[in-house]
Symmetry: C2
Subunit: 340 residues, 2 copies
DNA sequence: CTGAAAGCGCTAACAT
DNA sequence: ATGTTAGCGCTTTCAG
């Protein structure tokens, strides 16, 4: 706990003006070598550190990036933050983190807060992007990049996963393996991401000329227990299916456990695939198939895009959709058990 | 993107001085009702927002709390951040998040950064608290609370889990169930938390008069694969054991899978317990036993403690050790298989 | 190459 | 009840 020393004290000790100290410290403007040395010595001795607040006030920029996320409960989001941090760190920016509970009101409050704090840009993650969000963003004097959501229609720059595409791709893999009766365990019906995945699933079926059966579609809340319950619901309907696609790992694990508890052999009788590839996918003895995408890259790309926007005068629309990989592992095999 | 308006412009429009505007905005000092109304109207119309930077410069405080964590890859840390955020939010503080890679140099850099940014307090999480950390902290003009590490010896306030205690307690439960040959899958040897858990395990054995066998102790890196490998190593030693304690869920899951793959019945032949209770514990069909503690509470308590320290003039040592619960579930049962 | 001085936008003590 | 003014600590012209 030592006292702060400011620029004028340094100047006094060095017998120069504060302007010269400023020049030395920031290497802005010419200073005679001897006086530079002298000032540096004083700076060294006193441990002088400039008051960033004052500097920011004078420069009218904070080198701060704000981030609003709707939840922090999974590992995905913290990976994304890690990615963001990586970029900011190497560009001398700092991260102001806030967590809205997801309500519009809370989000509005956080946008306002970040505006007050004079952040130079904002990364925004929300469950579902609304017209109101667009309004909030347009009122802001700094650029915003949306994360985890396709906001092309609103014309807001974003970085997101290709939910529909990979859900479709994964489902097509199953179809290629001969599966035609495929169940789907979806996420919350108000989640845009979950709905995009569901759409991908449906498109794959339709493209293959397979009728979409409502009896094979359920909705849950991403958790293991929910996957278990929804799988049970579908089993109770007593219709034959040979594969299940789950909106995420948790639901897939739940489904897997449920099937095994009901003496349904995986993958011999039913293949299981999760549209996700978190640590959970490795937890079961039976290696779970899934779609892999990187949250770390998500954050990384979002931060990159934001910095770019911050540097340009006009905030052009821009988008980045991250790549993915489909991994078929032990939980999936070709349809063999039920022959037509 | 509208232009900012400042206090003097508001004052001019309202035909008053900036002091009066400030009084109205901050509700500091008396203002005649009619002029207050008038000023509020202008504020409303213009959308005036004070420049927080200027205010902070004048007030010499930022309402910012800094946080340095050594990694963001698990769900635990993001839960902790959530807890911190919850407290800060309701106390009008914001969170400046930084992620060090865990190296001393990087941590030093981040402390310096937060100092520059004039945060009012810091929450610090590191893998292993060193003398150097104590020095860095003592140089700081603001209070620091350490998270996830017992820094009692250094006299630095901290909030942590009772690693030794719950590891000991959980092991004792196994001993009470008749187990005497218990294996331990530990974490990295340089992790303080992992070592504390190992110590608890050993203390429980010693208290029960059971010799500690080095052959039953292995070290891994917290991951599922590592648990699998270490379990295999112990199995290869061909010594009989009836229970395994793993330093965390991941290793426990790995151990579980390994045992089952080697036709060892869990829990009939070997009980498995993880010193953890994350989402992973629910992933296997066999409900994994474990120790439950809340990362969210950890963050919550750390933030509470920090705010308290920030309010008092002197930074007294203070500590908070969080409660835990031991959950014995399907993966654990009394020793029956091997009778003496 | 260096210094003086005018901001940056706000708070708070001091006048009136 | 309101205005004046002196900071807060730094950056940046503008002179010299």
């Amino acid at each position: 706990m030592r006292k702060d020393i400011n620029i004028s004290e340094v100047a006094k000790k060095a017998g120069v003006s504060i302007a010269t100290v400023s020049r030395v410290f920031n290497n802005s403007g010419p200073v005679k070598e001897s006086t530079r040395k002298a000032i540096q010595k004083i700076i060294e001795e006193t441990g002088y550190l400039p008051n960033v607040l004052a500097r920011e006030l004078a420069e009218k920029r904070t080198n701060l990036v704000g981030m609003i996320v709707h939840n922090l409960s999974g590992e995905g989001m913290s990976r994304a933050i890690e990615g963001v941090n990586r970029v900011l760190d190497s560009n001398s920016y700092s991260l102001l983190m806030t967590c809205s509970n997801g309500s519009l009101e809370s989000e509005r409050k956080h946008f306002e807060l970040l505006r007050l704090k004079r952040v130079d840009g904002i990364i925004f993650a929300t469950r579902s992007f609304k017209e109101e969000h667009k309004d909030m963003i347009e009122k802001l004097p700094v650029p915003v990049v949306v994360m985890l959501q396709n906001t092309e229609n609103a014309g807001v720059p974003f970085v997101a996963f290709a939910n529909t595409a990979f859900a479709k791709g994964a489902t097509q893999k199953l179809i290629e393996l001969g599966h035609r009766e495929v169940a789907f365990l979806g996420g919350p019906e108000d989640s845009v991401n979950a709905n995009e995945r569901k759409r991908g699933f449906i498109e794959a079926l339709e493209d293959a000329g397979i009728a979409v059966e409502e009896d094979f579609i359920c909705h849950g809340n991403y958790h293991i227990e929910s996957g278990y319950e929804q799988m049970k619901t579908i089993l109770k309907r007593k219709k034959i299916f040979t594969a299940v696609v789950a909106v995420n790992d948790g639901m897939a694990i739940g489904a897997l456990n449920c099937l095994q508890d009901h003496d349904v052999k995986v993958p011999e009788e039913v293949s299981v695939l999760g549209l996700d590839d978190t640590v959970l996918a490795k937890a079961s003895r039976l290696k779970l198939s899934g779609v892999h995408y990187s949250y770390n890259d998500l954050g990384f790309e979002a931060a990159q895009m934001l910095l770019k926007q911050m540097q340009s005068e006009v905030y052009d629309f821009e988008k980045k959709v991250l790549p993915y990989e489909i991994h078929l592992r032990e939980s999936v095999q070709a349809r063999t058990h039920y022959k037509n």
